[in-house]
Each structure stands twice: as structure tokens, then as C-alpha cells.
Symmetry: C2
Subunit: 236 residues, 2 copies
């Protein structure tokens, strides 16, 4: 591999929203299809903007354990209100909420995971609930060695219980686990537990109108343009 | 389908040891390769015989939550002692304990799961821990929509928290979940929660010397000779 890691990782754990799937493009597409007379990209950004504050309420203990499906619905109701949309039926709202189960993978993901799985144990580690992820990966045709979720550990990332939970599941030391994500806060959470970190550039995560700064940061063990580049760097 | 079910199942949850993989033949093969001068099939039966009593200690609260990997090791140490085997190194014992991560699927399983996944959400629901199952299915080349384990629910089957936990993960009513298993006690546990049950004949689960009675019982919704027969009955 381009950067020798000692010990080499045994398990690669992947963040999902933004890293593996294009939530912005997919949500905007579904919202656009409803022809609500609003900017679908702005709606997608507003919906996602409620995500971290909603999880923070669970992480602080203000809310008991609540699945992302339910948090997404709470935020959706607020965002519909803010955009002045009052004419969706309950069935339409429920269907729209499940748009998070139908997000397209970035184009490099299927081949990248296949190559990485030949040498490593490859799992997801998402704040998305298990049922959401099962639907998502069936929809996108992605295969993992294991799907893991905040739901298993009853803690949302970046709580240490999530990263250390992966190590416990696979009976490995933290240094043998590498988190793969497009978000520095997530990667920093993993490193604080003694895990490795690999940053993936997803400059269009928030859509073409809000391009992300994907400049390499020295804190991460690896920096890759996409999963094919990561596979190459890891010798797969 | 041959037997109409109303409502039709949305999720098929599979027992694993005995139903999906041949633990007896696989464990006997690994034990036999060690050339210990004992009957490998009898050793496999003795190891497995400790399984339900060990889980019962967790289910009753006598033992705190303990993964199957650790229960298997506790039982292994007792069985080695009983068979008078004192010359295995710690590394050999650890490797032998992980034989439960290397169990062969029955020959109908890969194709059966592929067919069933076209129409249903198909998950495992095993008392085996998540890491064990991830290894097992990678070893056997089996793909699921989701791997579920007693470890997720912190309860061993047949505790109701396991079957109802599957329904909660997928946000379905109990009647929309069908447990698929080669064991009547497991199927009865699912039915007691309002779930459906499908019995799979595995006459050689305990080896050729201890053939199982696989006579159909009227309590089960479906009775199938193997997963291909189940797929046929479910219209896949």
C-alpha cells in the first residue's frame, strides 16, 4: 500500500450518507418529482440541516433513543411548514420520508467495495437505522460483510461507543479499525478512540451550488479521491 | 404460493446453525483434522450440547450478556477436559473455537437465498454474534439483506425480544415476519409473538448417526424440504 500502516487495518467501517450515497442529489430528485414549486436542492439542504441538531437531542439525553427514520420525519414536518407546503397527504409524507431509503450510490462505490472486500472485512457504520440501510443497499445493489448502525450501539456518532462498538463486534484492537468517511468530525471521533481514518473526497455532497472544501488534512491516515483510489492505496 | 398467507410475509428471518449451515459436519471435519484420537462427530455433538444450557444461564440472568464466541469457548474447555485432551496450545484452542466461523452452508442455501431475496427482504436471526456471522457468510459466500443477531437485541432466542426486535427493525407487524428454521422450539417462539413460521427439514443436522425426525407438524405455516422448496412454495 502507498502508506504503510502498522498494524494494517483488519476492518474498514464506512460512513454512509455522503460517503457512500449521494443524499443531496437523490432527495432533490424525489422532491422535484412532487412539483411543489420550490427549489428541490434547497429543500434537501434544509432537511439535512436538521439532522445533526436532532441527533444532538438524542446524544444529550433530551430525547430517548429515536431512530433516524423518526428523526427524519420530525424534521420533514418542520421543513414542509417552513417551505409553506400544506397539501401533502399523510401517505405522501410517509413515502417522501422513505426517500432516505432510496439514495443512489456514488458511481465508484459498487466496484470499490467489491475490491476492498477481497482483502478486508468491510462494514457500514452509519447513524442510519438498520432497516433504512437494508433498504438502501438493496436499492443500490451494494454488498457488505456486515451492516452496522448507531441503532446497534444505541449511540449516535461521534459518540465513542459507536467506533469502539465496531472493534468489540469484530474482537479487534482500535488500531485495527479504519473509519472511511467524507466528514472530518466523524474521522476525528474515530481517531480519538485510537482508530485509523481515511478521508474520501465528495466535493458534490451538498450539490453543485455548495461545493465542499476537500483539501487534505494531515490528521487523517489516508486521503482518497474515491473508493477506487482508496482500494488502490490499500493494495486491492 | 402453495399456501396463501394473509397478510403475505414482507420479511423472512432465518435461523442459521443447522438451518443454513451444517455445523455438525463442519465441526467434525475440523476436529478430525487435529487427529486427537477421538470420534470427531461425538465431539461436535458434545460441544453443541452445551449450547442451550450456556444460553439459558444468560437468559435467566445468572450470566450477564455473553457472546456466543465466549460461550463456545467456555463449553470447549469443558468438552476438551471431558474427552481427556490436555495437549492443545492456547492458539490451537482459539483457532478451534473459531471453527464456528467456518461452517459450510447446506448445498441449497446460496441459490435459495438468491431466489427469495428477489421477492422478500431476507435477514438472518441467529444467536451467533455479529462478527461470527459476518465471517461465516463471507466464508460461505452467502448474501443477506441484513444480518441480525441476538447480540443486537441483547436477548437469546426464543426470548420474544428477538422476534419482535426484527419487526421493530423493519417497522412491520409481527404477522408480516416469517421465521425460517429447522427447530420447532424456535418456530414456536416466533409464533407466540404473532409471527409466521416455516420449518426446513435438515435430517442430517446432527450427523448421519443421529438422524432427526422431520415429520411435518401442523403448527407451522409452511413445511419445506429445503430453501429451494421454500422458494417454490413462496412463488420465487
Amino acid at each position: 500500500m502507498a502508506v504503510p500502516l502498522d498494524p494494517p487495518p483488519a476492518v474498514l467501517a464506512f460512513d454512509v450518507f455522503g460517503t457512500v450515497v449521494d443524499w443531496h442529489g437523490s432527495i432533490a430528485r424525489e422532491v422535484g418529482a412532487l412539483e411543489l414549486g420550490i427549489d428541490p436542492g434547497q429543500f434537501a439542504l434544509a432537511w439535512r440541516a436538521g439532522y445533526h441538531p436532532a441527533m444532538a437531542r438524542v446524544r444529550s439525553g433530551e430525547l430517548g433513543w429515536t431512530k433516524i427514520d423518526d428523526l427524519h420525519r420530525m424534521i420533514l414536518d418542520q421543513v414542509l411548514d417552513r417551505f409553506g407546503i400544506a397539501d401533502l397527504s399523510e401517505a405522501q409524507k410517509r413515502h417522501l420520508n422513505l426517500a432516505w431509503h432510496r439514495l443512489d450510490p456514488w458511481p465508484d462505490v459498487a466496484e470499490g467495495l467489491t475490491r476492498l472486500r477481497r482483502r478486508f472485512t468491510v462494514c457500514s457504520l452509519s447513524n442510519g437505522n438498520l432497516g433504512l440501510q437494508a433498504d438502501l443497499f438493496k436499492y443500490g445493489g451494494l454488498q457488505w460483510d456486515l451492516i452496522l448502525s448507531a441503532e446497534v450501539f444505541r449511540h449516535y456518532k461521534p459518540d465513542p461507543e459507536t467506533y469502539l462498538g465496531v472493534c468489540d463486534v469484530f474482537d479487534i484492537a482500535p488500531a485495527q479499525m479504519m473509519l472511511v468517511a467524507a466528514h472530518h468530525a466523524d474521522l476525528a471521533g474515530a481517531r480519538a478512540c485510537g482508530c485509523r481514518s481515511a478521508y474520501i473526497e465528495r466535493p458534490l455532497e451538498f450539490g453543485p451550488a455548495a461545493a465542499k472544501d476537500v483539501t487534505p488534512r494531515p490528521d487523517n491516515d489516508l486521503h482518497a479521491t474515491d473508493l477506487l483510489d482508496l482500494a488502490r492505496q490499500l493494495g486491492c
